[in-house]
Structure formats: structure tokens, C-alpha cells
């Protein structure tokens, strides 16, 4: 059993709190059961001097230690100022009710712990319990915000000494939760400990300007500045679309002009820009299907209009709102009737659901998922399909944001049942799915040794699930497909399969849903899906 970490240790312990021990991680089936290397690279001495890694030896933010007591005090004061703002209507009406409910009514029954894939996969490391972050926050509130007297604090075990170290560890710990909200789903009291992770991130971002670079500086800030978190400009987009059109012609012989900035189109489709950069076959497949079905749509070349990502949803209300508003403004300027989102889970939740209570007046343009549209196209017979072309084992990954957090469960399944004869479910699936391990920005966080942690710990449960779904065909000779209708999840699968060598050892490939649809189209001569690892 792993070492019992207490909340007091967050302040008092000078050593690294937890060392991830490969022997304690949940076991994987063969050939992944052998521990061949330390799962997480050690940071160099230089990195350790520059960045705090005292939580678990892993760095997502990597706060630099303070230069002296004054800087430490200023840091703590700033955090406390932000924490106080979290409980004011004007600053945090967005999440005040669920936040207060969770902090006041959680009975710490730990029912949520066994639902957390990170906690379980880590071998039940205490620091990763979903209740750990809220309890630290609750204690800080008791002592420093409510200023409850010491007797009350003793009675409620709510004492804590707040140091720079405590906060540095808390900041990192907020980025060890994928916000998959499995914990919230099982809470009998209706508490949401994942939300607390987000609210802690929010204090650091909105008050202190601290967030992982990939999410803020190179993420939402870059998206607002140049148009996409990938750095892709409007001009680059046009080049990529030309490339995509050429690829379509080469692969299918079809000449398709992808509509761009078409005023008055019925719908604006916004894809995750990751598809443009890493998986253009997803765009190609979308273009082929929509063209074949005669759908009146357009893409946009305006800022934020060609990248559906909205990283703010993971850490910052204003960054979130800015992107959502820009996307709606683009749609309004084009005069489209609705916005439809491509295969990206968090963009679905952010753009369709969460933005709902930020967009008012004529910015509140109807928004929907492309999945029901794809289902209608597949089921209606508008395109002719031969499931025999997808006669290989296929399993479906449920992106948390799209499924558990917004209830789009069946359209993608009905499509797969029709086009993939060897489709099989993972266990559990649907709204009880496990996160890919790359949720809440993890898949794009590539600094230092964080990707190792993500692959070894937060993604481990999903990897185990995938292997189990294909346990009847474990060898690499049978090629297998993990269908992930989410760009972020695909990014995680790319890294995770690479990390474990899953393509070589088990023949497991990942991809989107539309690629399989096009692969089944009878009037496309060559197989659209290529079994080439990328």
C-alpha cells in the first residue's frame, strides 16, 4: 500500500510528496505487464532548481520558487485575494452555486475516489483522490478567508499552514485532474470535486496569471491573436484547404471545393484546428461526406472561426467567453443559420452547452453537433455504404465532454453498428466511460515529463480498457481501430500508443468517425483509411 499522505504534508513536508512507483500502477495485460523502464522521466537538477516538482516529481506548470519571504508573502496574498473573489457574485456568478454546494456539503465519504481513473491507475495515490484538492481549499478558506477560530478549526480538522510550497503543490495538483467528472457522476450529494480543480486553476489564471503555457500563452491567447491555438493563420488555413482538396482528388478522383467564407450558407462548420495540422484525412472525410450528401455549409477563415477549440473551458472563464463570443460573431457575420461542430469533444461542450449562458441576443446562434447530421446521412441512404470495407475490429471511445457532459451517446454508435461489422464496446462505455487521459488540456501539455505522467497514469485506465476490448485479437497481425470522434482524444491516443508501442505490439490504430464512414463508401474505389501509423 502506498504511503499515507496527509494534508498537513502539503505544507510541512520538504521532500517530494509522492514518487510514482511503477510496481504500484494498475497492471496492464501482456505484453504490457513487464516494467521495462521508469514510467516517468526524472527531471534534471537544473529543471528542479527552476521549477517546483515537489508534488509528484512531475511538472505541468513548473512554478519558479520565490526569491525571498517578501515574494512568498505576495504570492500567498494574491492567491487569497483570488480565492475570496471566487465567492462573489460579480466575479464568479458562472460557477458560484456548484462551487459553494461542493465545498459546503461534501461529506468526504470517498465514494468518488474509486470512480477516478487517475486515482485508481496510480495505485490509489492519496494525493490524486478527488477529495484531496477540495479539502485543501476548504481548510484554506476556513483559516484565511472565514478566519474561523482555532477551536472551531480543530473541531472541523480545518487547520492548515499556508506556504508557497502548499500553493505550488496545489497548483500542480489542479492539473492532475482531467475534469472528466466521473467523480461528480457518482456523488450522492450532488457535489462536483472536479469543478474544484477547475476553480483552483481559475484563481491561478484569473488572479495570478499562472497557467500551463500550452493552454494559456500558446493556447487561448494565441487563438485570440492569430486565429488558432496551433498558430495557424488565416493564410495558412487557405493553403491547407488547397492541400486537402488535392488529397481528396488524389485519393478519390473527386474534385471538391471546400466552401470557405460563403455568406448565407446554412451552417458554419468549425473543426478543431488539430485536424488541419495533424489529421487532414478527417477534414477530407468530412468534405467528401458533406459534398455527397449535398449539405449547404461553409468553413470560415476569420479568427477563431476556423478553430473550434476553447481552452478557456478548462481554466479561465474570460478566455472561454472571448473565444465563444468570437466564434458566434463569425457566424453572425456570415449570416449562417447555425453553427455545427466537428469531431472535438471539449469544443462541443464549450461551444454548444457552456457558451449557452454567455451568448445573449443575436450572438445566441443555434449550435449543434455534426454527429446527428452524420447519423442522418448514413441512415438515410444518401450515400451508399458497404460495411464489409470496415471488416476489422473497431471500438469506440466516448469523449467525456461529448458524452457524459452533454449526452450525445447513440448517434455515433448507430453509425458504427451500421458500418463496422466488428464493432465492439469497451467496458464501461457511454456516460460511464473512462477519460482518454488527455482531458482538460493534458493532451496538449508537452512540457518536461508531463507527457510521461499522462501516458503512464491518467491514460492508463483507458489503455487497459482498449486492450481488453481487443482481447480476442491481441496480436499485431490483426489491425484494430479505436474510433475517437475527438481531436483532443486522438492526440492523447497518438502519444499513448506511441509510449506503449501499441501499434507495433498490438496493431492498434486510432482515428475519427468520418474516416470510417468514407472508408465504407462504395463509390470510392480505393480504401480511404490507410493503416499507416501517424
Amino acid at each position: 500500500m502506498n504511503r499515507l499522505i496527509k494534508i498537513e504534508d502539503f505544507s510541512s513536508c520538504r521532500e517530494q510528496l509522492v514518487e510514482i512507483d511503477p510496481a504500484e500502477l494498475i497492471p496492464l495485460p501482456p505484453p504490457y505487464d513487464k516494467i521495462e523502464k521508469p514510467p516517468i522521466r526524472k527531471l534534471t537538477d537544473d529543471q528542479l532548481k527552476r521549477m517546483d516538482a515537489s508534488l509528484d516529481g512531475v511538472v505541468a506548470i513548473g512554478l519558479p520558487p520565490p526569491s525571498g519571504p517578501e515574494e512568498e508573502k505576495a504570492f500567498i496574498d494574491k492567491f487569497l485575494a483570488g480565492l475570496a473573489k471566487l465567492f462573489t457574485v460579480e466575479n464568479n456568478w458562472t460557477f458560484l452555486q456548484p462551487l459553494v454546494h461542493t465545498l459546503e456539503y461534501c461529506v468526504k465519504c470517498q465514494i468518488c475516489s474509486d470512480s477516478c481513473p487517475t486515482y485508481i491507475a496510480s495505485g490509489k495515490q492519496e494525493i490524486y483522490r478527488p477529495t484531496m484538492r477540495p479539502e485543501i481549499l476548504r481548510r484554506i478558506i476556513s483559516k484565511y478567508i472565514k478566519k474561523e477560530n482555532s477551536l472551531v478549526r480543530k473541531f472541523k480538522s480545518s487547520d492548515i499552514d499556508l506556504t508557497w510550497q502548499t500553493l505550488a503543490r496545489l497548483a500542480e495538483l489542479a492539473y492532475r485532474c482531467t475534469l472528466c467528472r466521473r467523480c461528480a457522476q457518482v456523488c450522492p450529494i450532488g457535489c462536483d470535486n472536479a469543478l474544484i480543480s477547475r476553480e483552483i486553476r481559475k484563481i491561478f489564471s484569473q488572479e495570478m496569471g499562472i497557467a500551463p503555457k500550452e493552454i494559456h500563452e500558446k493556447g487561448s491567447v494565441q487563438q485570440l491573436r492569430v486565429g488558432s491555438s496551433t498558430g495557424m493563420t488565416s493564410a495558412a488555413l487557405k493553403n491547407i484547404l488547397e492541400f486537402v482538396e488535392e488529397e481528396i482528388e488524389e485519393k478519390t478522383g473527386r474534385k471538391i471545393k471546400i466552401p470557405l467564407d460563403k455568406k448565407g450558407a446554412d451552417m458554419l462548420i468549425i473543426h478543431n484546428a488539430g485536424e488541419f495540422m495533424a489529421w487532414p484525412e478527417n477534414l477530407e472525410a468530412f468534405a467528401i461526406i458533406l459534398d455527397a450528401a449535398g449539405v449547404d455549409y461553409t468553413l470560415s477563415s476569420e479568427i477563431a472561426g476556423y478553430d473550434s477549440v476553447n481552452y478557456g473551458v478548462w481554466y479561465d472563464d474570460f478566455q472561454f467567453a472571448r473565444v465563444a463570443i468570437l466564434q458566434s460573431q463569425v457566424a453572425r457575420a456570415l449570416g449562417v443559420r447555425k453553427i455545427s461542430l466537428g469531431e472535438c469533444g471539449h469544443a462541443h461542450k464549450a461551444g454548444i452547452v457552456i457558451a449557452d449562458r454567455v451568448l445573449v441576443g443575436d450572438l445566441n446562434i443555434p449550435r449543434e453537433s455534426t454527429l446527428p447530421l452524420l447519423e442522418e446521412i448514413v441512415m438515410s441512404g444518401k450515400i451508399k455504404l458497404d460495411p464489409g470495407r470496415n471488416n476489422f475490429p473497431v471500438t469506440l471511445h466516448d469523449p467525456c465532454n461529448m458524452v457524459r457532459l452533454m449526452g450525445i451517446v447513440e448517434p455515433q454508435r448507430r453509425i458504427l453498428r451500421k458500418i463496422a461489422p466488428q464493432f465492439r464496446e469497451m467496458t464501461p462505455h457511454g456516460v460511464e466511460n473512462y477519460c482518454c487521459g488527455g482531458g482538460s488540456g493534458f493532451a496538449i501539455t508537452q512540457s518536461t515529463n508531463f507527457p510521461d505522467w499522462r501516458n503512464a497514469v491518467s491514460g492508463r485506465m483507458k489503455f487497459k480498457q482498449i486492450l481488453e476490448a481487443f482481447q480476442d485479437v491481441p496480436g499485431p497481425e490483426v489491425k484494430k481501430y479505436v474510433c475517437a470522434p475527438c481531436s483532443n482524444c486522438k492526440g492523447q491516443f497518438r502519444d499513448m500508443f506511441e509510449y506503449y508501442g501499441a501499434w507495433k505490439k498490438s496493431g492498434i490504430m486510432y482515428g475519427g468517425l468520418v474516416e470510417l464512414i468514407v472508408n465504407a463508401m462504395v463509390d470510392i474505389e480505393k480504401p480511404f483509411h490507410q493503416w499507416e501509423w501517424h
Partner: protein
């Protein structure tokens, strides 16, 4: 002493109702929040697999029926079953369920006592050999609810002390207040159990006490019954200061957070509330948030627009 008991009981009931009402009102008064729904949403048509109206094309043009009764039943029935606990930690469930049920049953017992007392004041005889069926029914219902609550509360409180100490994950996050509560509740239920089994097996004294409460006449009670009633009154006064309001707020959280899938529509009351909230000035201190601006102004900050234009 009889008069004192009546006064204390009234104070206890007034306090518990008042404080619970204030707490629930405070909960409900919080502003509308960003949607944070979590599926399955029980009022949805496809709740069995967790489906939502987003599974349909152009969902905003279609009716969105909500089965609120199903939701209410779902949220209430869990009070009597606590299924997640059974699934995740059966040993904990074994003690938690009777402990929880004892709260529900003791409140039900007291409400029934009130009606029994009103019926007695109107001339109904309550007892095993009562001439009327209602009198006999009251007798047995009171015996079952009261008896069950005393037994379940005593066993449950003892069990909770044990499990909080035995289970590492529960122990780590336990606080002295938890154990104070278990011990206090054990004394309250235990005293009721002793009073019932040893001195008042027909609960005749309890009915007399309640008749005294509604007729404002001091009852003559056995000291053990008296002690239990004093403890129970203190229990009522203390309860609102614990997390016990979750009996109510958990249902509110289900309806107003987890299952709140109501879309914001143009010109709706919700939109009006949001516009008001967007107009409030924020004071976050990070460099990317302008000072002295409203929520809406920060979210559409001109600085960012200027940067965008420059980059074109």
C-alpha cells in the same frame, strides 16, 4: 419540568425550521450559473443510457419533454437505498444506510406523533386494542417508525464510529466533529431505545408528550423518556449546524445543477438575468483581465480585438 419540555420542544422546532429555511433560501438565491449538466439527466427521454436532446438534429426546433416526476422519484428513492454506496463500499453502506434511515424515520415518527396527538385531542383512542381501525393503525405505525428509528440510529451511529476508524480512506478525511456527531446521535437514539424498551414499550408516554405539546399541558413522564426528549430537542437544535441540510440541498443540486439542461433562449427570463450579471464589474487581477470593466466588457475586451487586427 413538563412545561420546560414543552417550551424547549417548541424552541427546537422553530429553530430547525427557521435555520433550514434560511439555508435552503440562501442556496436557491445564488445566481444562475453556467450550465454544468452531467448525464444521465433523469428527466430526459433517453435517460436510461444517458442520452440528451443534443442527439437530435436542430434540437432547438423540437419539443424537449421533461419528466419531472421521474426525476423527483429518482432523487427521493436514493434516500432509502443509497445505491452508489452499496456499489462502491458495501461495508460502509451497511452502517450508513440504517444511520441515514434513522433520521428519516425519526422525523416521520414525530410528524406521525403530531397527527396522532391531534386525533387523540379529537377523541380518538390510540392503542393495540383501540375500538377504531385508525386508532390501531396509528398505534402500530408509531411503534414501527419509532422503534425502527431508535434501533437503526443506535446501530448506525455505532457502526459509523467503527467504519470511520476502520476504513483508511474514511479515517484520513474524518474530523473530530464527525465523531462528536456519531457519539451525540448514539446517545440520542440510544436513550430513545432504552426509554422505549425498558419503560415505554407501547410508546404511550410519547403520545402523551405530543398531546401535551398541542394542548399546551405539561405531561408527566418517566425520567428516562424525559431525558430522551431533552436530548432529542438538543439534537434538533444542533442538526442545522451540521451538513444535514444535504438531505434537501442534494435534491436541489440534482435539479438545479446536475440536471439543469435548460437552454438559454433569446428574450427569456434567463437571458435577462444573464445580461444583468454580465453587466457587473469584475475585479480579477491577472494581466489579461482589464481592471474596472464589466464581465461583458472583459469578455469582449477591445485590447484583444486590436491585437487581432494587427496580426492580419
Amino acid at each position: 419540568m413538563g412545561t420546560l419540555i414543552i417550551v424547549l420542544t417548541y424552541i427546537a422546532y422553530v429553530l430547525i425550521v427557521t435555520i433550514y429555511t434560511i439555508k435552503v433560501r440562501k442556496w436557491l438565491k445564488m445566481p444562475p450559473h453556467i450550465r454544468w449538466d452531467l448525464y444521465p439527466v433523469i428527466h430526459e427521454k433517453h435517460y436510461r443510457y444517458g442520452g440528451s436532446y443534443y442527439e437530435e438534429q436542430e434540437w432547438w426546433t423540437k419539443p424537449r419533454p421533461k419528466n419531472r416526476w421521474r426525476s423527483l422519484l429518482y432523487s427521493l428513492k436514493d434516500n432509502f437505498y443509497m445505491g452508489e454506496y452499496y456499489k462502491k463500499n458495501p461495508l460502509y453502506w451497511l452502517f450508513l444506510l440504517p444511520w441515514h434511515l434513522s433520521f428519516i424515520f425519526i422525523i416521520a415518527f414525530h410528524i406521525l406523533c403530531f397527527f396522532a396527538a391531534v386525533s387523540m385531542a379529537c377523541g380518538l383512542e390510540i392503542g393495540a386494542s383501540s375500538a377504531s381501525l385508525s386508532g390501531q393503525s396509528f398505534y402500530y405505525i408509531l411503534l414501527v417508525t419509532g422503534g425502527f428509528s431508535f434501533i437503526a440510529g443506535t446501530c448506525g451511529s455505532l457502526g459509523m464510529i467503527f467504519i470511520r476508524l476502520y476504513d483508511r480512506s474514511l479515517r484520513t478525511f474524518s474530523m473530530p466533529m464527525n465523531f462528536f456527531n456519531y457519539i451525540f446521535f448514539l446517545i440520542v437514539y440510544g436513550s430513545g431505545l432504552i426509554a422505549w424498551l425498558a419503560f415505554d414499550p407501547t410508546l404511550d408516554e410519547y403520545r402523551t408528550y405530543w398531546l401535551g405539546l398541542i394542548t399546551l399541558s405539561a405531561p408527566a413522564l418517566h425520567p428516562m423518556t424525559l431525558l430522551h426528549i431533552v436530548l432529542f430537542d438538543l439534537f434538533l437544535i444542533y442538526l442545522p449546524f451540521t451538513r444535514s441540510t444535504h438531505y434537501i440541498t442534494r435534491i436541489l443540486a440534482y435539479f438545479f445543477i446536475r440536471w439543469d439542461d435548460e437552454p438559454n433562449q433569446r428574450g427569456s427570463k434567463m437571458e435577462g438575468q444573464i445580461i444583468e450579471l454580465l453587466g457587473q464589474k469584475v475585479s480579477w487581477g491577472a494581466p489579461h483581465i482589464a481592471q474596472g470593466k464589466s464581465w461583458a466588457e472583459v469578455a469582449t475586451e477591445p485590447g484583444f480585438i486590436a491585437i487581432k487586427k494587427d496580426s492580419k
